[in-house]
Symmetry: D3
Subunit: 339 residues, 6 copies
Amino acid sequence: MPRYGSMFGPDVTFLGVDRCALDEPESYADADVVVLGAPFDGGVSHRPGARFGPQAIRTTDYNPHDGSRPSLALRVDPLRDLRVMDAGDVETFAGDIDGSLKAIENAVATIATSGAVPVILGGDHTIALPDVTGVAQHHGFGRVAVLHFDAHADTGDVEFGHLHGHGQPMRRLIESGAVRGDRFIQIGLRGYWPGPETLDWMADQYMRSYEMGEIVARGLDTVLAEASRLALDDCDAVFLSVDVDVVDPGMAPGTGTPEPGGLTSRQLLDAVRRLSLELPIAGLEVVEVSPPYDHAEVTAFLGNRIVLEALSGMAARRRGAAWDPTRPLLDGRGTRPPR
Amino acid sequence: MPRYGSMFGPDVTFLGVDRCALDEPESYADADVVVLGAPFDGGVSHRPGARFGPQAIRTTDYNPHDGSRPSLALRVDPLRDLRVMDAGDVETFAGDIDGSLKAIENAVATIATSGAVPVILGGDHTIALPDVTGVAQHHGFGRVAVLHFDAHADTGDVEFGHLHGHGQPMRRLIESGAVRGDRFIQIGLRGYWPGPETLDWMADQYMRSYEMGEIVARGLDTVLAEASRLALDDCDAVFLSVDVDVVDPGMAPGTGTPEPGGLTSRQLLDAVRRLSLELPIAGLEVVEVSPPYDHAEVTAFLGNRIVLEALSGMAARRRGAAWDPTRPLLDGRGTRPPR
Amino acid sequence: MPRYGSMFGPDVTFLGVDRCALDEPESYADADVVVLGAPFDGGVSHRPGARFGPQAIRTTDYNPHDGSRPSLALRVDPLRDLRVMDAGDVETFAGDIDGSLKAIENAVATIATSGAVPVILGGDHTIALPDVTGVAQHHGFGRVAVLHFDAHADTGDVEFGHLHGHGQPMRRLIESGAVRGDRFIQIGLRGYWPGPETLDWMADQYMRSYEMGEIVARGLDTVLAEASRLALDDCDAVFLSVDVDVVDPGMAPGTGTPEPGGLTSRQLLDAVRRLSLELPIAGLEVVEVSPPYDHAEVTAFLGNRIVLEALSGMAARRRGAAWDPTRPLLDGRGTRPPR
Amino acid sequence: MPRYGSMFGPDVTFLGVDRCALDEPESYADADVVVLGAPFDGGVSHRPGARFGPQAIRTTDYNPHDGSRPSLALRVDPLRDLRVMDAGDVETFAGDIDGSLKAIENAVATIATSGAVPVILGGDHTIALPDVTGVAQHHGFGRVAVLHFDAHADTGDVEFGHLHGHGQPMRRLIESGAVRGDRFIQIGLRGYWPGPETLDWMADQYMRSYEMGEIVARGLDTVLAEASRLALDDCDAVFLSVDVDVVDPGMAPGTGTPEPGGLTSRQLLDAVRRLSLELPIAGLEVVEVSPPYDHAEVTAFLGNRIVLEALSGMAARRRGAAWDPTRPLLDGRGTRPPR
Amino acid sequence: MPRYGSMFGPDVTFLGVDRCALDEPESYADADVVVLGAPFDGGVSHRPGARFGPQAIRTTDYNPHDGSRPSLALRVDPLRDLRVMDAGDVETFAGDIDGSLKAIENAVATIATSGAVPVILGGDHTIALPDVTGVAQHHGFGRVAVLHFDAHADTGDVEFGHLHGHGQPMRRLIESGAVRGDRFIQIGLRGYWPGPETLDWMADQYMRSYEMGEIVARGLDTVLAEASRLALDDCDAVFLSVDVDVVDPGMAPGTGTPEPGGLTSRQLLDAVRRLSLELPIAGLEVVEVSPPYDHAEVTAFLGNRIVLEALSGMAARRRGAAWDPTRPLLDGRGTRPPR
Amino acid sequence: MPRYGSMFGPDVTFLGVDRCALDEPESYADADVVVLGAPFDGGVSHRPGARFGPQAIRTTDYNPHDGSRPSLALRVDPLRDLRVMDAGDVETFAGDIDGSLKAIENAVATIATSGAVPVILGGDHTIALPDVTGVAQHHGFGRVAVLHFDAHADTGDVEFGHLHGHGQPMRRLIESGAVRGDRFIQIGLRGYWPGPETLDWMADQYMRSYEMGEIVARGLDTVLAEASRLALDDCDAVFLSVDVDVVDPGMAPGTGTPEPGGLTSRQLLDAVRRLSLELPIAGLEVVEVSPPYDHAEVTAFLGNRIVLEALSGMAARRRGAAWDPTRPLLDGRGTRPPR
């Protein structure tokens, strides 16, 4: 079956889901979700390695690679309740950022146009530009809000003499009109970049950026509720962009530009679950998982679980039942009569 | 002195406590606690390595191995206030799960019958079956509740064609009657295993399983209080089973089946302290510490501290004084007159 | 330009700030802050390696080494708003603790006397003795309070037959009168050291030590507020001593005597920010970063950010504006008119 | 297609060769070689982890996983000149050594009986028993010589109370008659095991064991020539058993029982090439690659290359051309006329 | 002083030699050697990370960074006997291979034209194209032979749809005429790439490639002598291109495309010493040192020593004295009279 | 039993041999060899960590810790044929080099005076001064030759303002007269230290230093034969000082000052075996094993095997039988009649 292969390793699919080929539309005609690898790390300013992210996110699990994952928390099986397929990796070349981004955008747009939700496995965050643009081509420029988990704003202008790179995609997306600045919501920013000029530009766009200090002071739940309301105000859907470095590097070391003081893994997984359950997700990307810097695969596991939490939330949302996190896992009323 | 030796390294004891030999009852006649290594990892479904757990848990500390550990928080010295001895490692063989489990059960039962509290250092979680059974043989089947910290329910039925393995001991314990299903309490579950059929079986047993979502929503303190009440309802004592993977793998990477989104180390240590202080502990196991996947011994340190916190709680409970965590470490009234 | 060089690596400065030479007073006459490396680890009781701490803390960042770091949270650029210089590493020799401590004390006192705030990069915690003493020589014995973040009290008496070592500096500081015992405030203690005799001595000095149990029970914010009040009661300034092992080793593995159950990185960074913003800082040390035990530089990054947070707080304090952590990063009123 | 899956990871084949299913004989009817994973490490006496060997050996390469590997040295493409297929992993369970060995033996015998050469990827060396027995079932007991590269003799009798384990298979093979003791040739032994009693038993069997001292003194080439002559004296074929620990652990750290002072990787690859070129190979196993102890995949790469060198030698042998290692790679007479 | 800075870390020079700025010709007017960093890894086909090579090669040493290194073997001090300067890193961007290669070529040509020998620290092997071209611009196309140590031929044509990448520079150099094919000498090739078509192209160019099998069979000394004769036959000088992966990955793990079965570090250092001593070196590059995959800096140390050995050979060559490797280090006739 | 304990870990003995206490002469009255730990690394100029060397060398093995190790090559059991005991670790303190060296010297002299051969496990190479001096006190100053395996000459004069450190002990030993300069033989030197002045001093002492270039050119066997002859010319015995960094850091990364281009592990083990077999050994030290920089314990294993090879050689020497390395391990004449 002709399809994208896997660039950096054997040709496998996300946890064993079925394959599809983007140039064979019938192969994913009934898909709810299409997973796509974007093993591009030619845009990083510091540590590379995210090219191995798609392979790691697809395969890092201790359960069988059988295309089934029953969620304990939500009581759905996202890989079965949804029709999830994997289209392989877009062929990219680190040394050619322009060509690579174009190839990714085409692939994402193809998926979005088919009606499936693209789930893109990065790669570095440069790919947010083609990922979100590809989705916006289908939903309409300005109609998709972005919820962006990251330690960094990624709104730089020109770096290393180039317009593209993993520190700049968010600016490009707003400049092109793919996303409205006032529906671009950032969660988890911290540290010492960017400088005032860029922050002024961001303010000019009416971006809403939650720095970690604000998150700690107001509580993540409050922030998420506020962000959710904003995202759906005159937008039709949400693109969820998760840079794994939003988590503290002490818990997620396998990434390229680690910034101490982030969320815990628990916080991120809860947030992704809640947002996917409550909002209409038009696309998801998980980026900046860099296996060369990982230890014992902990960051790769986290990347895999971010995807599963999002898919589980989407499956639960489709099922329509309300979710009460205080509900016990077991209700004590099983299939046999009580003793 | 004839005794179990140490299977995977030199023959040492937990932080330098005295040795005993299980086949010489007089050697541990006055023991309050007997430490036992169970270096068995033949039951793991994924990453092995927990066979090196007993050695790591026994020896990983920066303080002298002198059989003394004054607890700052509780102001007891668990290794001196209690008579703690170490019986060495049960000889097990990864390739023979049945024989290994039988040997462990015999050793644990021997300790329990002597009146001492067995503290078993795993090893993978398969050993919960002989550990708890050995204790139940002394206290009576159905008389000991289990408080089980884990990312996983470990209630699988048959896996790899076998009844035993690290994903199944809890089912076997309930099936045999060693533990009542409705006094089997699990804390920290999460992720994508087991599936609905197994969950139904668990519900049929009236197990009480706290998934992380519930823990986050209701608070760990609330959960612990509820669990404590349940555990002592018509049971005489509690077996504490601590799978180190209940902690987030970002903080405790040295384990075999890491599931992101767990407790912090601080939360687990506080929970173990509190439960050991408030409840009658009949046995303790610390399992799934897998040194090959550890970094800088952080998970081994955690394993060692779990044991010390439990022993400290037990020592403080025996002393009888109430514990107020808001009390300052120093009361400002030392042995010399104030200036 | 004659100056201290860098002992363990090339001669570089903290993130590219300007150099100065301590024997050329004019070279740092206008400095607000002088960074000093103290690559001494001859005092550790367990794992060495902190000698590589100064180099790691100075250079671990993904941003350019350009002497500028705009703080997102506080909207200051600590390396530009303050005049920060780097004097290089004091030449020390692990095998000669007495000579090394004397050299460090002289260097710190030289900086303090010049009116600049010394920021000392350790090295093991033995250097607290010369660091604080050097500062006290300028401000007056007993006039500087110490806020001490650490898993360990470091108040041992004689160890390995010596008065000096990384477990003893706090006792020596109180004995000499450099610091009043009742203005010595410790945050983050835990574990199984020291024993009752030392704790009695500490109580006799009216030290205030917040064990992690108290911090969890009362909340870190409450503790910090209480500590701040106490520190400024009849003292003129505060020395901030940050042992990176106050953070949980699961998040900060690169240290010598890891004690599970610590703060998160987020908590520590927030605490350092707040204290530096609210209190007059007379000196800062960041110690016990041990690169040989680090992974993917996560602990080195943390060490670097501790320094930056402290400097940012100092810069914001000088600016005088109040700080409201709930304030959004961007106020939505940029430089262009709203759409 | 029904087939063995891959136990510890996604279902992939050796460098992308075609799949086959052992229970569908037509699927490998034309195979020259069938690769089989035996992810069993329940027999190790020390460090486990070889269960991840099959996955690592299959996939560790920087070239595309395209089922083609042109050998520079021999100018063959072993994956194309031979019909190489991959049957997946035999399902084994570490805790059940007897059942696992039986399953492996059946699979190997099935392959051998089909006329293909089985290439078994371990797993620990326990599998030599089923691997060689399975081959001998086809070729006749006593008709296949074993060339055994290893630091260890693996001729122990009973260990941990069991007849099977990774230190005993060679004794079992001779006892059963599967292999004649005087056609059992060991290369690379060293260190401090086994003791005199076992060595006497080995001498009684007329085994020929080349300790490293002899290899250094006489030269590896001389030893290989002598071993080759002996192997084919009244035997029809050769089973090549390669324990990766025959290489010095300084160059191949990813293994379970490392013994310093071994061959270089270059020596081993040259030896495997030569033997596969000169001798009729009836089976090959590559064992004791333990990824948890590897660094930067260097041992996994070596395992992959051992297989490729053997297959290349077999392909070149079939082609029939003599091999002259002094021949230049390029002969200077390409397809265009000289300048 | 305006100069290239250091892209990935603080601005330092090779072991502390003096700085120069390429746009200030007077700053290196008297230089014999100019070191240049080329931190480009946008051309790698597999593992990236070589961007951190220049920093690692410059700084990895346990001796002081004082611009002096007395060679024990050759009794020269290459950093003092030669005037060695460091121009910093060429600014490159992984995502723009064409622009990066142009910038490197310009910098190398500038150095070569000044009369100094460029020593380029990679970076991946893509840079061989601009490195050798820059040198050939000064010495004349076809006048400089290349001695190329590598596991790989790097003579691919188009890969990932591009003419440039780390597997293709040697073809481009021959195509452009910068180097004569029959004066392109490769040492250390092995493994399973490239295929017959490329080998035919190489043969057509009359390249001379020593595969490891030939090197083992004939001896490295014989090969080096033959290569040296060929290199100087109608060429004026030699460019030495050292890909660190020519060494066995078991000894030099920190690289991107490891191929087992290589030289030992000792062999490579001896070869570099000898060639630099015997041949007129017009340029040197050390490439493919990838710190993320290194352990304990062993590959970085090797990269540093390759540079030092080459410089030492060049210094000894200039001194003119013959070198006898059998000569004792000490001649027993020191500065004091014998006892 | 009062004895030195183990400073950095539990109190264990070398592979389980019996304990003795230096202050109880009767406890080691019949010892042939006494093992002594010297966990001092306060003298290193670069990476510390060798303080964990004694523990690592004592315990790193996959065989049982049972006080028996039958040598395959020499057919002796050094731990049984010799009476080997372990006295524990001398208590040292990194911060006090003078006191530490004195304590070590006293302990070594005590052992030597008892008639046993001291085997000292370092620690850094600073301890050569007390180790050799302690032995010379018993055998007479100038009567013991030193055979010194090392990458470094360790003949520096004053460093860091001190006479002692790991780069200076050999000078101190010659200055004091403990060892004659012309009976001080160094094997394996290489790299870029020390400089000409120190080399002149060494020549003045008539030291004989074999740089790696000479060893490669003349062959290690030739060098060892020459060294052996020289060592016994008017000396009574030999002290064997083995710095593990004589081996290439690519094979033995766990050390503090790695210098590429060293011996292989095989070469070192063969050399130690041969020298211990042929020469009267008065003392042995194995130093500079630094576990924090090791991987998968490969350097620790090597350290353990260096000790075992030396003891095996000593045991074989005592037995008196000639050793022929070309002799087969098995002679084919076992205990049963041939078939």
